[in-house]
C-alpha cells in the first residue's frame, strides 16, 4: 500500500516542481526575480489572516468543480463543461434567492444550493443523455453548453435580475449569505465564508460515494472496463447519465456556493468563468482523488490569490501564476515524459554498469 501511495503522489509532485522550475526559468529569461516573485506569491496567499481567508474562499468552488470533473472522468468521460455548469448553478441560486427574498435564511441557503445543484445536474445531464443514447461526443456538447450557458445567463441577468440597465443583478439579502461576521472577524475582513466547509464535507461524501457505495463501484467499473461491466450486468447507459448528472450537480453546487458566499449577486460575464477550467486542472493534478482535490484546490487557490500580491511587491506580471498552473497540468498530462526519462536513465545506468 505505501509503495502505491508513493508512486501515486510522485507524478503530481514532480509536475508541480517542474511547473515552478520552468516558471522560474521563464522569469529569469525575461529578467525578473523568481525568488522574490515566489516569495510574494507565498505571503500573498498565506502571509496574514486576510490572505488566508481569501485563499480558502478561492479554493471553495475549485474543490466542487474539481470533484464534478473527476466523477465524470471516473466513468471514462471528459466533462469540459464545468464552467457552464458552475454558471447555471450560480445563476439559479441567485435567481432563487431573489425570487423568494423573504423566506427564512436556512431555507434560502438550502434552496439556493439545491437550485444550483439541480441546474448544474440538468446542464451536464443533457450531455450524459446524448452520450448514452446517441453516442454524441461529450467533449463537444459540454463545450457548446458552456457558451449557451454564458449567453443565456447574461441575458437572464440583464433582463430579469438587474436593476435598470446594470450589468449585475440585485444583491441577495444578508440572510441568504454564507458569509458571517465571525468568519470575517477571524480573517480580518476577508470574503471567506461557510462554503468551504460545505465543499470539504461534500469532498468527504464523494470519497465515500466513490469508494464505498455500489453506485461509485459501478461508475468506477464502467470507467475502467466497460466491457467487463456489461458482462457483470451493469446498465452502462444508466451509469453514464448518472455520472454525468452527478458531475454537473457538483459543479452547480460550486456555482451556488460561490454565488451566495462570495459574489452575493450575479454578473454579466465577458467569458466563461475560469473556475470551470481550473476545476479540471485541479482534478487532473489530484488524479481524481476527492481528498487530493481538496489539496490541489488549495494549491491553485494559493497561486491565484498569491498572484494578486506579485505586482505589489515585484514588477513580475501576475499572469506568471496562470502560466505555472498550465505548465503543471502539461506535465501531469504528459507524464510519459518522466517515465521515458527514468527508463532512459535506467538503461544508461545498466549499460554503464556492464561497460
Amino acid at each position: 500500500m505505501s509503495k502505491n501511495w508513493k508512486s501515486r503522489l510522485s507524478i503530481p509532485l514532480i509536475s508541480i516542481l517542474a511547473g515552478f522550475v520552468l516558471g522560474a526559468i521563464i522569469m529569469l529569461c525575461l529578467g525578473y526575480d523568481p525568488i522574490m516573485t515566489y516569495e510574494a506569491l507565498f505571503t500573498g496567499a498565506w502571509g496574514d489572516p486576510n490572505s488566508i481567508g481569501e485563499t480558502l474562499r478561492q479554493a471553495t468552488p475549485l474543490i466542487l468543480t474539481g470533484l464534478g470533473f473527476s466523477v465524470a472522468t471516473s466513468a471514462g468521460f471528459f466533462n469540459i463543461g464545468g464552467a457552464g455548469q458552475y454558471l447555471v448553478g450560480w445563476l439559479s441560486s441567485i435567481w432563487f434567492v431573489l425570487s423568494f427574498p423573504s423566506l427564512p435564511g436556512v431555507v434560502l441557503i438550502t434552496g439556493a444550493i439545491a437550485a444550483g445543484a439541480i441546474a448544474g445536474g440538468i446542464w451536464s445531464g443533457i450531455a450524459g443523455v446524448l452520450r448514452a443514447y446517441l453516442k454524441t461526443n461529450e467533449v463537444i456538447t459540454t463545450i457548446m453548453l458552456n457558451y449557451i450557458a454564458l449567453y443565456l445567463s447574461n441575458w437572464i441577468v440583464k433582463s430579469f435580475l438587474a436593476n435598470g440597465d446594470a450589468d449585475y443583478s440585485k444583491s441577495i439579502p444578508q440572510s441568504a449569505s454564507l458569509r458571517s461576521p465571525f468568519l470575517m472577524e477571524l480573517t480580518n475582513n476577508s470574503t471567506f465564508h461557510y462554503g468551504l466547509f460545505i465543499a470539504i464535507v461534500i469532498a468527504i461524501i464523494m470519497a465515500f460515494v466513490m469508494k464505498k457505495t455500489t453506485v461509485g463501484y459501478e461508475i468506477r467499473s464502467i470507467g475502467l472496463n466497460s466491457d467487463a461491466s456489461k458482462y457483470a450486468g451493469m446498465s452502462t447507459k444508466k451509469v453514464i447519465i448518472l455520472a454525468m448528472t452527478l458531475s454537473g450537480l457538483l459543479a452547480g453546487i460550486g456555482g451556488a456556493v460561490d454565488g451566495i458566499g462570495n459574489y452575493q449577486n450575479i454578473l454579466v460575464l465577458a467569458s466563461t468563468p475560469s473556475v470551470g477550467f481550473d476545476g479540471l486542472a485541479v482534478a487532473l493534478l489530484a488524479y481524481g482523488n476527492p481528498i487530493g482535490i481538496v489539496f490541489a484546490s488549495l494549491l491553485f487557490a494559493s497561486l491565484k490569490i498569491g498572484g494578486l500580491n506579485i505586482p505589489v511587491v515585484s514588477n513580475t506580471p501576475s499572469e506568471i501564476v496562470d502560466i505555472v498552473i498550465a505548465l503543471i497540468i502539461f506535465f501531469v498530462g504528459a507524464s510519459y515524459l518522466f517515465e521515458y526519462i527514468s527508463k532512459k536513465m535506467k538503461t544508461n545506468k545498466s549499460k554503464g554498469g556492464k561497460a
Partner: protein, 523 residues
C-alpha cells in the same frame, strides 16, 4: 556452393532466428525454408509465435539473433518499407485498410503515383490495378469506399495492395477466418494461380482442409519452436489433425462416469447475427444436462463466441429460444440471466472477466456487489467482501499477496482463478467456460479442469467451449462440434477419436462420416 544453390531456390530462409521480448522468447531458434513458387502452410495455436515470425518477415520486428535470407541473400529489414522493397507483403488477419478511402486509394497508399508537385495521378494507378485485377481474377469495384464493400472484396483489395507493389512473397495471416465458404473457394483458386505465376505464399491457418487443398508444405510451430515440416501430399488430413492437436503434456483429469439428469440448458433453433449482420450461429439446437460437461469443439471463429454471448445475454439472438433451468432466458438482460442461474467464465478474461485495476476482492464481488451480503442500502460492505475474498483465495488457492492487491498484478492463472472462484462459488445451474485455460501453464490447467468436473459432480451443467481438442476430450462427457455456425454432430467423448473430431471441425458432418464408415464396412 551446394548450400548457395539451396538458398537461391528458397524465397525465404530463417536460420537460428530468435525474437525475444524481455525474457520471453516468442520465437526460439527458428529454422525455416520457404521454397519459391510454393504455398507453405504454417500451423500452430494462438500464441504459438506465428505472428511474431511474420512480423519479423514483414520488417515490423527485428530478430534478437539469427539471420533472415530473402532469395538467397542475407537481409536486415528495419521497416515494412524494407520488406516491401524485397518483395515481401502481408495480408493481415485484421485488414489494414482505411475504411473511408476508396479501393484505389487504399491500394496506392504509400506508393502513390504522382504528377508534378505531389498531385495524385490515380488514372495511371487505375490501369495497373485493373490489369492485375484481371490477371489474378481479383474482382474489385475500384471507386467504392472500403467500408461499403464485402469482407471478401476487402481481402482482394489487401492482396492487390501487395501485387501493386510487385510483391513476390505473400504472407496470408488466417485469411479465411472471416470469409464465407464460396469466398474461401475463390481465394484458394487465386492462391493457386499466384504460385503458378511464380509467386511464393506463406499461409497461416489452423484449418486442415485448406492446407490439404492448397499447400505444398506444412510446418507446425508450438511455443515459439518449430515442431516439424511435412509435405502435404504425403500426409492425410488425419495426420494433419494429429499434428494440430499436438502431443503436448497430456494428463487425464480423474473423473467418474457422468450421471446426467434433466436438461438445464435447452437451445432450440438458435440463430445469432454479429454487428455486421452476418449470421454467425445458424439454427443451432442442443441440450446441456445436469451433471454433465458438454464440450463445444471447433476452430476459432466458427460461431462459438456468438453462441456464448447469446446465452449470457451480451448479444441478442435473431431467432430461436434459450431455456435455462426451465426459465425462458432468450434475449433477457445479462443480470437477469445471471440471476436465473448462469455462471460465465468469459473467453477473454482481461477484457470481459476482470477489471484489472480493481482489487481482488472487488473483482470477486463483480457479480454480486449490488445485493446482500456484499452491500446493504447501496453501501458496500468491504469488511464482508474482504473476508469473503480471503476465504475464496484460500479455498481456490489464488496466489496473491492480499485480497487488496490490484488484480492486474496477478499472474494469468491466478487471474483466471479469481474468475472461477467468483463464478463457481454461486453454484450456478449452468457454468459456461470459454477457453478457460488459454495461455495458462500446466498446473493451472489441471486445476481448472478439476474445478469444472467438480461443478458437474455437484449436479450442475457445464458448457465448455475450447479450441483445444485435448481439453475438450479430457473434460467433456459429450462433444458438439461447431463449424461455420452449424452443429456438425454430437458424440460421446468416450467413443470418439481425435480423427473423427478433426474431420468434423473441418466441416464434415457426423452422419456423413458414419455413412462413409458404413460403406467401408459394407465392402
Amino acid at each position: 556452393m551446394q548450400s548457395n544453390f539451396d538458398q537461391a531456390s528458397c524465397a525465404i530462409e530463417l536460420k537460428h532466428m530468435t525474437k525475444a521480448f524481455g525474457d520471453f522468447k516468442a520465437n526460439n531458434d527458428i529454422n525455416l525454408k520457404i521454397k519459391k513458387g510454393q504455398i507453405h502452410a504454417l500451423l500452430g495455436e494462438n500464441g504459438a509465435g506465428k505472428s511474431t515470425m511474420m512480423n519479423v518477415l514483414s520488417g515490423l520486428y527485428q530478430p534478437t539473433s539469427g539471420d533472415v535470407f530473402v532469395n538467397g541473400e542475407k537481409v536486415a529489414m528495419t521497416s515494412s518499407k524494407d520488406a516491401n522493397n524485397l518483395g515481401i507483403g502481408m495480408v493481415h488477419q485484421h485488414f489494414m485498410l482505411v475504411d473511408d478511402f476508396t479501393v484505389i486509394e487504399n491500394i496506392v497508399l504509400g506508393a502513390e503515383p504522382t504528377k508534378a508537385a505531389g498531385i495524385l495521378n490515380l488514372k495511371q494507378a487505375r490501369q495497373k490495378i485493373m490489369d492485375l485485377s484481371e490477371k489474378y481474377h481479383l474482382e474489385i469495384d475500384p471507386d467504392a469506399k472500403v467500408r461499403d464493400i464485402s469482407v471478401g472484396m476487402q481481402q482482394r483489395v489487401e492482396i492487390l495492395k501487395l501485387l501493386y507493389r510487385d510483391a513476390n512473397i505473400l504472407i496470408f495471416d488466417e485469411p479465411t477466418a472471416v470469409l464465407t465458404p464460396s469466398e474461401i473457394t475463390e481465394l484458394m483458386a487465386i492462391m493457386k494461380e499466384m504460385v503458378q505465376e511464380g509467386k511464393s505464399i506463406i499461409l497461416i491457418t489452423h484449418k486442415l482442409d485448406e492446407i490439404k487443398e492448397v499447400a505444398d508444405e506444412c510446418t507446425v510451430i508450438r511455443r515459439g519452436q518449430i515442431i516439424g515440416s511435412v509435405l502435404v501430399k504425403n500426409s492425410s488430413e488425419q495426420q494433419l489433425a494429429d499434428m494440430m492437436v499436438g502431443r503436448e503434456v497430456s494428463f487425464k483429469t480423474d473423473k467418474t462416469k457422468s450421471k446426467p439428469g434433466e436438461a438445464v440448458l435447452k437451445i432450440e433453433n438458435l440463430s445469432v447475427k454479429d454487428s455486421q449482420k452476418v449470421e454467425r450461429v445458424k439454427n443451432l439446437s442442443f441440450n446441456v444436462r445436469a451433471g454433465e460437461v458438454l464440450g463445444i469443439a471447433g476452430v476459432d471463429g466458427n460461431g462459438q463466441s456468438e453462441l456464448v454471448q447469446a446465452i449470457s445475454g451480451l448479444e441478442k439472438s435473431s431467432s430461436g429460444s434459450i431455456t435455462l433451468d426451465n426459465q425462458n432466458i432468450t434475449n433477457l438482460k445479462v443480470r437477469k440471466v445471471t440471476e436465473a442461474g448462469l455462471g460465465h467464465i468469459p473467453e477473454d478474461r482481461q477484457r470481459f472477466g476482470l477489471i484489472l485495476p480493481m482489487t481482488v476482492s472487488e473483482n470477486i464481488a463483480l457479480q454480486s456487489y449490488y445485493c446482500k451480503p456484499d452491500s446493504a442500502h447501496g453501501v458496500l460492505k468491504y469488511n464482508y467482501m474482504n473476508e469473503h475474498a480471503r476465504h475464496l483465495i484460500e479455498q481456490f488457492d489464488i496466489r496473491t499477496s492480499s485480497e487488496k492487491s490490484e488484480t492486474g498484478a496477478l499472474s494469468g492463472g491466478n487471474q483466471q482463478k479469481v474468475i472461477i472462484a467468483r463464478e463457481v462459488e454461486r453454484n450456478p445451474k449452468l457454468l459456461i467456460a470459454a477457453n478457460p485455460t488459454r495461455g495458462l501453464d500446466v498446473g493451472a490447467i489441471e486445476y481448472i479442469h478439476k474445478r469444472l468436473v467438480d461443478q458437474r459432480d455437484k449436479g450442475n451443467g457445464v458448457l465448455l467451449v475450447s479450441f483445444s481438442l485435448d481439453e475438450i476430450l479430457n473434460v467433456s462427457d459429450r462433444i458438439l462440434v461447431m463449424h461455420n455456425g452449424e452443429n456438425m454432430g454430437i458424440v460421446e467423448a468416450s467413443r470418439t477419436s481425435e480423427q473423427e473430431l478433426g474431420l468434423m471441425m473441418a466441416g464434415t458432418p457426423l452422419d456423413k462420416i458414419k455413412k462413409s464408415k458404413r460403406k467401408v464396412a459394407d465392402k
